[in-house]
Subunit: 201 residues, 4 copies
DNA sequence: CATGAATGAGCGTTCATTCAT
DNA sequence: CATGAATGAACGCTCATTCAT
């Protein structure tokens, strides 16, 4: 089991999955792109579905690792949000396809296959929790509103980051500044809030 | 061209597409569920891809109609946001699958097929603009921050609504109240903002 | 049973069958070209096969009629050959497709379908016999060699005519003169025979 | 690419194509008869059309080879004609279906498909030229009439051979003797010519 | 271990045929 | 009679998966 070969395959698969639909990509194509034989793929992955799942899951895992790293840094709450959005943005940039691929929900992807579904839901929940861990810190410092659950705020935060990534495409590459995004997350869209920003810093 | 039959097919397709992946659903299955012959589908849609596209597009169209309706009501800005989130939530509830299906991005879905891609991008842009039209009103009244483009705010707003819909699943059905969501959109996550909420009303 | 409509259909079918293969032509296309409804075709022909057969058969019938007419004219033997080749050529020219369509053998076309096969074979045999009837006259006058059966000579004669039609395509439209063809049929390819042509006239 | 398997498939296809129409034979049937999997056929041939074309083309190629071989033997002109008709007859007997299949013209078969059409026309032209090469020799020796182009004479010769093959069926298996056919080709159908045969030998 | 030729289940699609209007 | 919408049997073709080398 050559771990390197495994990675080659996943990388090839990821880059292909990101621009075409699952059923439009053949295993042969993945093998070709990975520079391995078609049969080889089946030595590393049970089947095409498993390969797909692992690719997506690994994306989540990397995001998780990134967030976790920040969460454990013990920095100032606001700074952590900035750092997280920085790292996630970076991730989105490097693995741009991934925003499109992961697309926030596996129910449709894995819903029919209980087996994958649970693994998938767990991954996503883990991601949300990692962000929650950071937000909890802010809440404990009295910085966060308490009328919305932290998990929901986490989900919102991740959604905004995702939207920002998408916007980069839609709006012709102009990307909202990270600081602005975090600021939006903290103070919202209303003008009245803007004036208060100084205080909240 | 019996318009009714066309709808039957689209409805059947929508409900199937929402819980399984495109390539896991057979045209025959759609036909069966729609109560029509397999061949009939090809009288109303060029191919499976076209059917899929039309289903997704019609979802966007309905969302658009809903938002547009609110936008034209000429109500108070804040109330319009509430109404929009109300209507979109309702839409998500009724066509729950759709949050999962639409999933915010068609690049992967239609990217490879220039033909669909443009149609798709246009639909989404239209949606964002419909929301923008509402936000612009708020901006003109000096209610919105001006350091973030309205289109971006629109995208954020839609993202939050989508996240809320997803959260309803993830977090076991508990759904964030609409008022809270709008409030979050307006004032953000920070505690400091909460105090200001009164003013902004 | 509008005989005119029947003819419309057959004409449409003939022109289509001649340039594409049987299975590449749809009944709908025939109907469209004939300017009738699809269902109408089934009022005049049992099925697509029957239509095809009738089209081909009618070609043979027309050829037969043409030859028969000449045969009954009671003219000079040589002149009859000329007249026959004239009429068949004309037929080939007008229904050019037909040389390609009829292609001399129905075994492959109708072989699997006993029903058609017999009808077909009979038609072709009738054609050969019609020519034979003319040749017999020549034989009785001592003009024809007797070491080859008249039927075979008929077949040869028809083959040469067909080849001539084909040649018109292959050799870029230049068509062997009718007189030359009949002369070839009578005296063959050898130079020695040429000198004798005068006598044999 | 196992060349043997390729041949298996072509042989199976040939025998099937010869007794039923193209569209009546399923790829699966060919596969079954060839003793290979259905998918295998598509490893060796682009599609059903390509397979069909190759089968027909290979028939022409073999005929060509046979004629070429005789042409290069440098024998006496008359003998060559005999040999050619001998070899072609043999070919027809062995691959009886082929007379029916090849049927002299590919326009209808391949006409709609420019790609095949050219290849096809070329094959046939090559066949005619191979025969022409032999006839030219006769012409140069002053044995052939010069008022008909050699290519046309070639076409006539091939047509007669084909007719003879067909006659074998039509006329219940009695086959015109080769010598008689060549004699007919040389001296035609007229009695007067018969008398001259001695001279021309 | 690695490979890719072989396979056949399974799918999208077509189209001859029917039948309600 | 004429029509064409509806149908589903049937086919070509693909491609995930296997397995002999």
């Amino acid at each position: 089991m050559n771990a390197n070969k495994r990675k080659q395959i996943m990388d090839a698969a990821e880059s292909l999955f990101s621009s075409r639909r699952f059923h439009e990509i053949t295993v042969e194509e993945i093998a070709r792109k990975a520079g391995v034989g078609k049969g080889t793929i089946y030595r590393y992955f049970q089947d095409k579905d498993a390969l797909f799942f692992e690719v997506v899951a690994s994306g989540y895992d990397q995001l998780y690792a990134v967030i976790e790293e920040v969460a454990e840094s013990g920095e100032d709450f606001k700074r952590m949000l900035l750092r997280v959005s920085e790292r996630i943005s970076e991730f989105h940039r490097r693995r741009l396809q991934w925003i499109q691929m992961g697309h926030g929900d596996g129910k449709r992807l894995f819903g029919a296959h209980g087996k994958w579904r649970n693994l998938w839901t767990a991954r996503f929940a883990r991601l949300v929790e990692a962000v929650s861990a950071i937000l909890v810190r802010g809440r404990d410092q009295g910085l966060l509103r308490t009328d919305v659950e932290v998990e929901v705020l986490s989900l919102f935060f991740l959604s905004l980051l995702r939207a920002r990534g998408l916007a980069a495409h839609r709006l012709g590459g102009r990307r909202v500044k990270r600081e602005l995004l975090v600021d939006f997350f903290c103070h919202g869209a209303c003008a009245c809030a803007v004036g208060n920003r100084e205080e909240s810093r």
